[in-house]
């Protein structure tokens, strides 16, 4: 099965899944960061321009610091995400699932120089395309990952219906499928709902919209509504 997620077993014996972020979304995040940095440089440049050489020196120092440490600072203090990454809902973590720390962040960001070579992050791109976990060279050296930070979704409501007990014993997985059907039914077209529900004629013994209704009733029962 091809997938973009990696699972880690925590010390507590629970599997945690993380979705690895690929090149497109990372490029988008990088673009946003680039625009932010450019805006800072231009804005500051205009202000510092009035201070002559002194301003010029300060400006250079700021550019230097920002160019090298902008990602580092955000990754350490802002939970692994620069503003661009935050906007794209991705963040950097260590590849054992723990938050990124100083030395890893510094390694992965200093090695941007190599990733950038020979032009426009070409080496980094090749590395991302080839490596299993979308890692650029900096990520490989620092053992870091870029993953999606999935926001918690609010609970989808199951259409209320009179609970009914399924006629046949269902395995847990099947119960979950019925629950999921009910949860997602509002986002499916009615025809498609009907089609799906009719697949389960063996249990519902019904056709058409009543089959959908019947599945909702099972779902209500499965969820524990009395």
């Amino acid at each position: 099965m091809l997938d973009t997620s990696r699972t880690f077993e925590t010390p507590e014996g629970v599997d945690l899944g993380l979705s690895i972020a690929g090149p497109i979304v990372r490029a988008q995040a990088w673009l946003i960061d680039l625009l932010i940095r450019a805006a800072i440089y231009i804005g500051l440049g205009m202000i510092l321009n009035f201070l002559g050489d002194f301003g010029g020196g300060i400006w250079l120092i700021i550019i230097f610091l920002t160019e090298w440490f902008y990602p580092v600072i955000f990754e350490i203090f802002k939970n692994g995400a620069t503003p661009g990454k935050k906007r794209m809902c991705i963040k950097v973590i260590n590849d054992n699932g723990t938050p990124i720390h100083w030395s890893a962040s510094i390694v992965r960001n200093l090695l941007r120089v190599v990733d950038f070579m020979p032009f426009g992050y070409a080496f980094g791109l090749c590395s991302i395309l080839i490596s299993r976990d979308f890692k650029r060279l900096g990520d490989l050296a620092a053992s870091t990952l870029v993953v999606y930070e999935e926001p918690t979704a609010s609970a989808p409501e199951i259409p209320t219906a009179e609970p009914a007990v399924p006629r046949q014993a269902l395995t847990l997985e099947e119960q979950r499928a019925i629950l999921e059907f009910s949860e997602r039914s509002s986002r499916l077209s009615p025809e498609r709902c009907k089609e799906l529900a009719e697949l389960l004629e063996v249990i519902t013994a019904k056709q058409g919209p009543t089959a959908v209704e019947q599945l909702h009733r099972y779902a209500n029962w499965l969820q524990g509504r009395s």
């Binding site: 077993e9 925590t10 010390p11 507590e12 014996g13």
Partner: protein, 338 residues
């Protein structure tokens, strides 16, 4: 939390400790000390603290560079108590099931057989616990807390007495996984082993090399002086030793002082005080008192607190160790009032 004994409610009338039973117990403990000390030259404080942990029914974390006789200590103690000894060398590739045990399919009998891991013993030496990844550490820590092992959904209670001696190298060494601070609480005491004094060291070298081929550890000098039941009885007795209100108060004040002590970033939690009292009771038995004195508290205070507090950055910058800070704290906190 099985780790904690219920602290006596206020104004507990002093329980009457049977004098004879106590004298017997004290004698046994003294024998134990001497017996263990035969194998381990010097390091009397380390031996005492380990015995205290045993008597208080806790677990000890021993810190020190390799080669200072940690394994010997655990083995000597196990021999003296006449119980089963288990040892696990923690390595980066150690799996939780290597510690706890696992179910194996036996093809000829066509059924699953539970292979018990090394935790099924009375004394477990978890060597270099910080070399194993967090997953394996967590497995051991859970066993320590629950005193039972779950394999394939079945629970197996461990036979008391059960004690874990976990050793760790100083954190700075490469390739270690430090125990999460919040989990260190599970250890009653953190024992520090330092290099022995000069005479002690030469005695040690003589002892190890005399009449031996190779450098196997020599516990033949150690005689069995107790058995498992004795230990359980001793633990009972220790748990019933008298603690005066003032001593309780002293322990609590010490722990509270760690929380707003200038120089300590994170103070000890309530479990710190509980650990202090538990260990002090055992210390009292070692000293031959039927009651706990502030001296007992003070003697074990550093061992009971050093893994529960952490220093502020500026203290660390000044090169002050946790023990120094605790020492100052102990000097400053008033001993009990009468």
């Amino acid at each position: 939390m099985s780790e904690e004994t219920t602290p006596p409610t206020e104004h507990t009338p002093p329980t009457i400790v049977n004098k004879d039973a106590f004298e017997q117990a004290h004698a046994k403990v003294s024998q134990l000390r001497h017996s263990v000390a035969r194998a381990i030259i010097g390091q009397q404080r380390v031996i005492d603290e380990t015995i205290i942990t045993l008597l208080a029914g806790g677990h000890a974390l021993i810190e020190g560079v390799p080669g200072l006789g940690k394994t010997l200590l655990a083995r000597a103690l196990a021999t003296a108590v006449g119980t089963q000894f288990g040892r696990v060398q923690f390595t980066p590739d150690l799996m939780p099931t290597d510690v706890t045990g696992h179910a194996m399919y036996e093809s000829h009998s066509e059924r699953f057989v539970i292979r018990r891991g090394p935790v099924f013993c009375n004394f477990l030496l978890a060597d270099e616990i910080n070399r194993a990844p967090a997953k394996t550490q967590a497995a051991l820590l859970e066993v320590m807390q629950e005193q039972q092992v779950t394999i394939e959904g079945k629970s197996f209670a461990l036979q008391p007495p059960f004690m874990v001696l976990a050793t760790q190298n100083p954190i700075e060494q490469e390739g270690t996984y430090p125990l999460p601070e919040a989990q260190l609480d599970r250890f009653l005491l953190k024992v520090k082993i330092d290099y022995p004094e000069h005479e002690e060291e030469s005695a040690l070298v003589r002892n190890v090399t005399h009449g031996h081929v190779g450098d196997q550890l020599n516990v033949s000098e150690v005689k069995q002086v107790l058995n498992g039941e004795d230990v359980v009885q001793l633990q009972q007795l220790v748990a019933n030793l008298n603690v005066d209100e003032q001593v309780f108060d002293y322990a609590v004040r010490l722990v509270r002082a760690t929380r707003d002590w200038n120089g300590i970033a994170i103070g000890a939690g309530p479990r710190g005080a509980i650990a202090l009292i538990r260990a002090a009771r055992a210390q009292a038995l070692l000293n031959g008192h039927t009651f706990v004195t502030p001296d007992d508290i003070k003697t074990i205070a550093k061992a009971a607190l050093r893994h529960r507090v952490s220093l502020t950055p500026d203290m660390e910058i000044e090169g002050i160790h946790i023990d120094d800070a605790l020492e100052r704290l102990l000097e400053q906190v008033d001993a009990p009032r009468t």
